[in-house]
Amino acid sequence: MIAFARRLVQGLRALPAALALLMLAPAVADAQENLTVAEVQTVIAQAAAEATARGMPATIAVTDRVGNVLGVFRMTGAPDAMRVVSGRTVGLGFDFARFGLDNLIVPLGGIPAIPTLRLVPTELGAIAKAVTGAYLSSGGNAFTTRTANQIVQENFNVGELGQPSGPLFGVQFSQLPCSDLSSRFIGGNVNDFIGPKRSPLGLAADPGGLPLYKNGVPVGGIGVLADGEYGIDPVITDVDESDDEMIALAGTRGFEPPVDIMANRITVEGKTLRFTDKGMSALRTDPGNAPAFAAINGTVGNLIMVRGYNAAAAIVRGRAFGTPESGVRPETTGIYAPTQPFVLVDGNNNNRYPPRAGTDGILTAAEATEFVRQALKIAFAGRAQIRRPLNSFIQVTVSLVDTNGAILALARTPDGPMFGTDVSLQKARTAAFFSNPVAAAALRAADANITDLGAPFPNYARIGPYVDAVQAFVGPTALSDGIAFADRSGGNLSRPFYPDGSQDNQPGPFSKPIGIWSPFNVGLQLDLVLPQVVTHILFTLGISPTDTPVGCTPLNPTLATGLSQIPNGIQIFPGSVPVYKNGVLAGGLGVSGDGIDQDDMISFLGAHKGGLAANTGIGNAPANIRADTLTPQGTRLRYVNCPFKPFVDSDEQSPCKGK
C-alpha cells in the first residue's frame, strides 16, 4: 500500500514533467487574434465618452501587441503637450540634461521660426503608455503602467523604506526609439508593421496604459494622456482615481484580460501587484453605451498622424501576434529542437536572427545555437513567477551577443511578454560590455561624441565621470580588468543606495544621488541615451528632418557592426551573464520576461548547460573572475540569484549552486 502510494505520488510528480515536455513543442501559444479597425474605433469611442464625462479631453492611443500604432485620437481641448515629471524635488527648471527627463522641454515650431517652448507632445506619452500595457502583458499576465510604476522605483513596494528597489528597476529605458532591434514605421515599406516596434519614450510608469484582450488573447494596449503630466505615482498606499487610468479603463470594456491573470492576482516577493487602483464600477459612463466612433470623429476630436508611428490620421487593423506579418512567429526549421520557440522575422518572413558565428571570431554558430537551445530548455522546465495559473512554465526571450554586441541568436518562448525582446538584448549586451576590458576606455571616449543643443539648453551629462566614479568606488581597474559582470552586478552599482535599499547609504557609482534621482533621472543608463531620445522627440515634432540614428549611445561604433557594443542602451536589472570560451570573453547571454531570479537562472544555467552540450570550452565566467569576488565599500557584489526549487518537473532545490 505504501509502495502504491509512493508510486502514485511519483506519478503525480511526473505529470508536470510530462506537461513540460509537451510544452517543448507548443505549436501555438494562443489563438491568433487581432484588433479590427472597428474594434479600435470602439476602444477609442469608449475612452472618449469617459473623458467627456470627466471633463478631461484626452489624447488616446491604441497599439497592437507588437507595438504598431493603430490609431491616435486627440479630443478637442486636450493638452497637446505634457510635463514629464516625477513629482519629486529633482525637476528644477528646464534643466533636462542635469535632471534627466524630468521637466524635459523641447521647442515648438520649425526652423527657423521657434515661436514658443513647450513640453513633450502628449501623443508620445499616450503611445508609450499603450505600448507598455501591450508589452508587459501576455496570455499569462496582464500588467498596466500602474504595475510598472510599482516595480521601477527605488523601493519595492514603493514607499517601504529599507526595501530593495523594484524588480524591474530600469525597464523604463527599454524599447527606445534608437534601438537597433525595435523596428520603425516608415510608410509604404514591406516592414512597416513588423514588430516589435519602438516606443517614443521607452516604457511608461504613469497610470493610464492598459492591455487589450480578445477572447483571453492579448491583442494590444490603450494609452491615455489627459492630465498633461507623464509621471509616476509615488504613493501606492492610497487608492487613486486617476483620470488617465479611468479613461483608459473605459476603453478596455469588452477587451478586458481574464480576471485570473490580472496583476492583482500575481505576487512578487510576497507582494501583490496592482492592475488599476479603481475598477469599472468607478467609471462615470457605461462604455457599452458610448457614442459610436463615427459620431465623435471630427466633432469630439480627430485622429492625428504621429511622425514615425503612422502614415496618416487614420485607423489601421492590428497584426495577429504569432503570424509572420506581426514580425513574430514560430520557428519552423527545428534549429532549437527539441524546443520549438518563436523567432523574429522581417517583412519577407525571414528569421532576423538565426544563429550566427561571432564577428569577433570566438563563438561558432553551433555554439550560439547551443547556448540559446539550453536556455530555452531551462525556461520550458522552470516555474514561472509572474504567470497564472501557478506552475506554468516560464515565458521569456533569450538573446546572445558577441563582444561587439552583434546579435548571434535570438529566440523566445511563444508567449513571452514583448518587452523582454529588447530587454533581453540590452541585458546580454550590458553583461558582455561591462565584462570587456575595453569598457572603461570606450565609455570615456564617448564624451567626444556628445553634441549639446546649445543655449538656453543645458549641456547633456557626460559619461566619463561615471568611469571615474566606478573606479573610485570599486577599484582603479574597474571596467578595464576583465572582471565578469552579470547584469545583477552592474545593477548593484546602479541603485541610488549601495547596497540596494540601505536608505542612508551613498549611491552606487552609476546612479544619481537620491536627492536628484527619479525614475526619469537614474544616472548612467539614461545619460547614455538621452540625446538620442531628445533627437527623436524633435523628429516627431518636425523640427529635426531625420530621425534618431540607429544606436542609442554616443560610444564609438565598432568596425564589425557599424554600431557600438550597446546600441539599444544598457539594462540595469538582473537576467544576464557574460559568456566565455576557454576563459576568454565571448559575449553575453540575456533573458527577460519573467521574474528576475528566473531570468538570472535561465541565463546562468543556459550558459552552463550550453557549455556542457557543446563541449568546446564555452560556458560561464570562471568563478575567480566573477564580480561577486569584489566587495566595494565592504559589501559584496552579487552575480546571479537563482530561485529555490525552480522546476515544475523536478525537486531540485539549488540548481545554480557550485556552477
Partner: protein, 152 residues
Amino acid sequence: MAVLDGLARLATGVALSVGLSVAVMLLPGAAQAAERLNANGARLADAAVDISDSVTLTRTISLGGDAPGAFYVTANLPDGRRLQRNNLGYWVPWNGRRASLIDNQFAVGDDQVTYKILRQNIADMFFPITITLGYRVDGVIKYGVFDVQPEQ
C-alpha cells in the same frame, strides 16, 4: 538666437552635390566637404533618401594625406543581415571580421576618395541601414558610419 543656432546645427540638411540620381540629404551637422574617417569610427552625416525610385548613393571622403591600400563598404541591417560591397558593386554576406573584408579598389584623387555605395531600388529594405566606409592605411583600418533613412 542661441536656441536657433543650436537647433540649426541639429536640423540643417545639406544637399549632397555629387553622384545622386534622386534626392538625398545629408543630416545632420558636420561640414560635409571635410568628412574624414578615423581609427575609432567617425560619425558621418546621415543620408535621407527618396525610396520611391532607384537610389544612387556615393560619399566623398577626405584622406588628409593618407595613402590607403584598400577601401571597404559594409552595411548592417535591422533584419539582422551584415553585408559588404565587393569591387564589382555587389552586396555579399560579411561575417564581421576584418580579415574577410573585400577591397573595393576605389580611385584616389586630389587627396579624396569617392565611395560608390548604392545604385539600386531599396524600397523593400529594412530601415535604417547603417553603412560603414573604411580604408586600410599603415596596418590600421580607419572608418566612419552613417545611416540611410527614407525621407519622411
